[in-house]
Symmetry: C2
Subunit: 300 residues, 2 copies
């Protein structure tokens, strides 16, 4: 599952918010009615995070690109928009997700050329060195052995080809107003992910993971989300509609595992929501790395 994919794209339902338009918002002259304004705002939300994550990722026309673990296509639409001439192969192990991704791309980027393949990262139906570039986003965090996963990806990458990887790190989440219960709720998600064999704190260790898998020249950079009232598109699009739902989604599991009591949990979520309104503020760091398959070598 793609942690940072909002479960369902939000429709243009007006939602109360105290956020005020900041610099860069649509000028008043462009606002022709509430629902159009709302549509623009929702577009801004998606674009603000996509700009942060996809900035600098553009594949040459004709290059063969693998997106592994495309899920419902949340990143695929941005890949095809930014690299319209690349030959993208999008892979996921879930047929249901692939169908959703295909529908999303058909709607958001009609005419985009994407080959869809159902496969598992550890059993890829591709020849050694078949791809010029590999893109992987919010996948390693779910693997019990991310180095082994990266080795498989290096195996289908041509010598000298590039891997781009994006992962979050829940240890980067801090906010105003601060709240011990809100921090505890986030910690529940981290513990449950660890119990399932994953790591919600993986972003910080991308460099050693890439080294361990035999990549070279790895460069990791933080992509920082800072969402306060001067960035309403992130306050609603990221904090309210993306991050908080990720935490909320583990309520039943967290209570069943005895990691939190229901009253504390609900209070924690309530206090987390306060960071997305008014004078609230939220910080989160994604990490993006680019590394290369050494020229003249193949993965084991």
């Amino acid at each position: 599952m793609d942690t940072f994919t909002p479960s369902t794209p939000k429709t243009a339902t007006p939602t109360p918010t105290t956020a005020t338009p900041g610099p860069g918002s649509a000028a008043p002259g462009y606002i022709h009615g509430y629902s159009e304004r709302e549509a623009v705002r929702l577009g801004d939300q998606a674009d603000a995070l996509a700009d942060l994550l996809h900035s600098g990722t553009r594949y040459p026309a004709g290059s063969r690109v693998l997106e592994i673990g495309c899920g419902v296509g949340a990143q695929t639409v941005h890949l095809v928009r930014r690299s319209p001439g690349a030959r993208l192969v999008a892979v996921d192990r879930s047929a249901e997700s692939l169908a959703a991704a295909r529908a999303r791309v058909a709607e958001c980027a009609p005419g985009a050329l994407v080959e869809w393949r159902q496969a598992d990262l550890f059993d890829l139906p591709f020849a050694e060195g078949e791809f010029d570039h590999v893109f992987v986003c919010f996948v390693l965090e779910h693997l019990s052995d991310p180095v082994a996963g990266l080795e498989r990806l290096r195996g289908v990458l041509r010598p000298g080809g590039s891997l781009t990887v994006i992962e979050g790190d829940h240890g980067s989440a801090f906010f105003h107003p601060d709240s011990a219960l809100a921090r505890a709720a986030i910690d529940c998600q981290t513990r449950l992910q660890r119990a399932a064999g994953g790591d919600a704190l993986l972003g910080r260790r991308l460099l050693p993971l890439l080294d361990g898998a035999g990549f070279e020249g790895a460069n990791v950079r933080p992509c920082t989300v800072w969402a306060d009232r001067t960035r309403p598109e992130l306050m609603t699009g990221f904090t309210r509609d993306t991050f908080i739902p990720v935490i909320e989604s583990v309520r039943a599991e967290a209570l069943a595992a005895g990691l939190a009591g229901p009253a504390d949990w609900d209070r924690g979520i309530e206090e987390l929501r306060r960071t997305a309104v008014g004078e609230g503020a939220f910080h989160y760091t994604f990490f993006k790395a680019v590394a290369h398959n050494p020229a003249g070598t193949t993965a084991r």
Copy 2:
């Protein structure tokens, strides 16, 4: 005390490090010997953090600028270098710090015009609206009432004049390898600072503080330090030589207050040091805000 001022400027003593030069380091052709190389590296360290914090801060020639709480001049030297024509008044309540700051500026920026004044933020010897700009860095974190401090600063700022404020936030510190004892050591510093009336987690709430003090148009942005082996100047200059010494400096206090046992403390510091070598990595966020004194008003 200025939290992020290294206690003593390091001399050019060669220090062991496994860090390798990253992109942007001096090219091999410029390296004429070990001590010169070391001097370049030390210069890079100082500049890397200064570039991050001072980027975008440049005051017009002739403008009257107040730096409040200049300490030993760690930021003053960068202010005068970047705004050589501004008329800077640097204030600190400690005569000893002022003397050190004066010596530092004389050495690092000879000829810079700085007026030095010994005074307390809450008893400033200036007329209402006397300054065009105010610069304050790592000061609010030590105040029990930062809003009152900001109101005093607004009082000496002309209507429409700008305030620039920089603060850290220890809640932003996370690292690889992760370590519960290292996190506990950082938490000791945060608790001791709170017990002394300050707040090491202040950065995240700059916007409400500025609003509360009557400033307008406040914009806060994160200045992210990400220090891994591809950024050796930050790995040594920030993690090893700046952040870790800040934490280490409270050892006696932390033990005396019963916040940590000596074995756990020392292990925590040891594990913190591992984040500054080899495959280690360290994340920290400073926050920088610019806000204005409303035109046509004066502070209460």
